[in-house]
Subunit: 455 residues, 2 copies
């Protein structure tokens, strides 16, 4: 029975017979011994294995090069050398799979660009192994966070005829043959109408919140924007909670609570993997995360944020003007320079926000909120939703939305309407915040961007 | 601060001041009191509220019809009536949203077909509320199961250029304008090549298992098959674990362990919701689930299963022949009639299985396994994968797969190849098994089938 290296490295006592398996990271040979560093992906750390040149299987040692896979039997003993508490004295070793000379991860220090071109192999490196273990841990923590708070996880549809107005360009989903040259009619297509990949599960989530009370989605969302930036991917994962009987304040409370929960998770439960980002990616990472975990967030109204920015004396690339969206540089200045902590900006002018947000009594602003964090800018965007039927219908008319097509959504206001609120958190943004990684392509297993759909 | 009805109904002591909110299920009026049954979606049960006709807000009582939403303040007291332990004596009630006469869920006893046409409202019914709470609970349990076993959750891509050979018809993803009538060229499209919605994350999952050891995916998968059966949907969720250093036996162990874990979860943690399926959908449900939870599963080789079926004396619609896939009727007879328990069939003829399965030493069969359950048939399909480079390449050639296009997949065998195995469990099949629901459209929040992409 194989023991994970994660468990061997944290053992509390020696063991007379253990089995391990993994991939060779390095091999050092001396006259009568060889030392293998073995990693099995269960954690960042590798197991040092001492191999006497006489044991069964040791004849294959010359072929146990970096990247090859081996199976081991032996004893777990206190390590003689520094750097690790335990090592394995092998009694038998078996070469499972060789890694010929053209193995691309022979040496350390590859560029991110090169590693993206071998996305199927890069999780075998220390940094990307840590990245994707952390991504997994964060995902599981998202589900735990909501389960602990009696939220129901809803799988909102990926293929959709709704477009959650204004969220962005959409991909079309079709089974029609593109090569015929004939004009394609939606009514001949699989769904007998135009169908797209979802940009948000919010509208469907609202319908479920208006039945089950507290729900969340956590699934893939899509944007067909032809922009090649380090922040945009065509396919990314989004977390979208929605709460019935909840106002803007409750919404901001949840967003801040969730962000802190996930940061604490990374700090406390994934410490080993986090260390490598601190070391190689972002020297101030841990300090920044600990600050976020332990300090209250700032909350300010949009109008106040505009005031502060306009009086900052700072020369921004984009001017700050009431009635315009804050740019990333403005958001980052607020959190990094001015408040030096995460900032929730709320009550935005209605003109720059979507139709579903609730109009405030001032009739100029809506109950929108954006949670901004240092290094990233906006990480959460949400709002209390317009629950008043007449107001919603007026908004829809102003935005040119068909009340027939969205009749089902209108129903949620027509029948037993309740105050409700929710938000969306881009999961990749969260991961970039928690690791310090600067390119979204490096926090997604297989990134999809314009022209890139490999693997 | 609102308390969830789930918590009120399981309270251990009376409370002097509580707040609740929810939707009116029924109202009964007497001369000086009214009784409201309030549901907030947190659980199947409703809270009985006694409303004295003099309290603030009680003037609106006539408009508090079925489906309307209300907010309540009052005391939690022992219930006088039967059927519940606690009830609320309201000191104030507030009507939040009315539900006019055309509210479609006025009466009970709607057909499943009708309820599918109002998929945005059906979670407000007892049965579908229970369904989607159970779906949520099962999802969260899937993540917990794998987290407890050190599996890493991997988000494999939804948009893909791979097709996991033989898994089915695919949807195409495009940003080209379909209405021009011009012949469309893939190189002009968003990804500059043909892109589709994934039918399985297995191949990408294998690449990550060959780095992180134990991984799983849990995400949406797609089939563009134009079949209108009660078992098929165009969009459904699949769970796909993949384990390095694992053989067929370990694979079967995990599949059986996972199924039991999830069945126990439904029985123990979601008892309230399960009861309604027992009552209205499947009288023998609990007994069947308890049997599965507490008995070992049967394992037989495919050849033996064929023997048993051929000697059964049973007249099947489709004949049983070695070298053909088992039909649903065969699978169900094995589990329901012959063994009367879940059955794992393994070692199938290589001709009827995909290219990636490992050839057995008999050179006729591959290490495929299907886990069959009563009432459903196949709920899990998996295999040990062919880890030998030369064998895999020969299989790919036989299946006409391009080693260039799948070069990345071949790399996993070229560099440090390891024995590995995995399986796929259709999440909707699991839900049908656990609830007794007979149509896949009724276990998915918003089902996508040919011609249907509403909401």
């Amino acid at each position: 029975m194989r023991t994970l290296i994660r468990d061997l490295l944290t053992a509390t006592a020696p063991a007379a017979e253990i089995e391990a398996a993994g991939w060779v990271r390095t091999r050092r040979d001396s006259k009568s011994f060889s030392f293998l560093e073995i990693n099995d992906g269960s954690c960042l750390g590798s197991l040092q294995v001492v191999i006497d040149h006489g044991i069964p299987g040791s004849d294959d040692l010359p072929r146990m090069t970096t990247g090859s896979s081996v199976q081991l039997v032996g004893r777990l003993v206190s390590s003689q050398g520094g750097g690790q508490s335990w090592e394995m004295q092998a009694s038998a070793v078996r070469l499972l799979g060789i890694a010929p000379e053209d193995y691309p991860l022979q040496k350390k220090g590859h560029s991110p660009e090169f590693l993206r071109s071998i996305a199927h192999l890069r999780p075998r490196t220390n940094l990307y192994g840590a990245m994707f273990r952390l991504r997994s841990r964060m995902s599981q923590a998202v589900h735990r966070f909501f389960a602990e708070r009696a939220f129901h996880y809803i799988h909102t549809p990926i293929i959709t005829a709704s477009d959650c107005e204004g969220a962005g360009e959409m991909f079309r989903v079709t089974t029609l043959d593109p090569s015929t040259g004939a004009k394609q009619k939606f009514e001949d297509d699989f769904f007998e109408k135009a169908a797209h990949l979802t940009v948000s599960g919010q509208l469907e989530g609202e319908a479920f919140a208006c039945a089950l009370g507290r729900i969340y989605t956590f699934g893939p969302t899509f944007r067909a924007e032809n922009s090649n930036t380090s922040r945009h991917a065509a396919e990314f994962w989004m977390i979208e909670p929605e709460m019935a009987f909840c106002d803007l304040e409750g919404d901001m409370d949840l967003a801040e609570e969730m962000l802190k929960y996930l940061v604490v998770e990374a700090l406390e439960k994934q410490e080993g993997d986090l260390a490598i980002f601190e070391k190689f990616v972002d020297k101030g990472l841990r300090e920044r995360l600990e600050f976020v975990a332990s300090n209250p967030f700032q909350r300010i109204e949009y109008a106040e944020a505009v005031d502060i920015l306009q009086n900052s004396g700072k020369a921004f690339e984009y001017p700050v003007e009431y009635g315009h969206n804050l740019q990333s540089e403005h958001e980052r200045w607020l959190t990094e320079e001015h408040f030096q902590r995460p900032v929730t900006v709320f009550n935005y002018p209605k003109e720059i926000k979507p139709f579903y947000m609730r109009l405030n009594d001032d009739e100029r602003t809506v109950t929108a909120m954006d949670l901004l964090v240092p290094g990233i800018g906006e990480i959460v965007g949400g709002s209390q939703r317009e629950e008043r039927l007449d107001m919603l219908l007026a908004n829809m008319e102003r935005h040119g939305l068909s009340t027939e097509e969205y009749g089902w959504y209108v129903d949620t206001r027509k029948f037993g309407s309740v105050p409700h609120a929710g938000f969306g958190m881009g999961f990749e943004r969260l991961l970039m915040f928690v690791t310090g990684m600067q390119n979204i392509r490096d926090v997604i297993p297989f990134a999809r961007t314009p022209g890139h759909c490999e693997f």
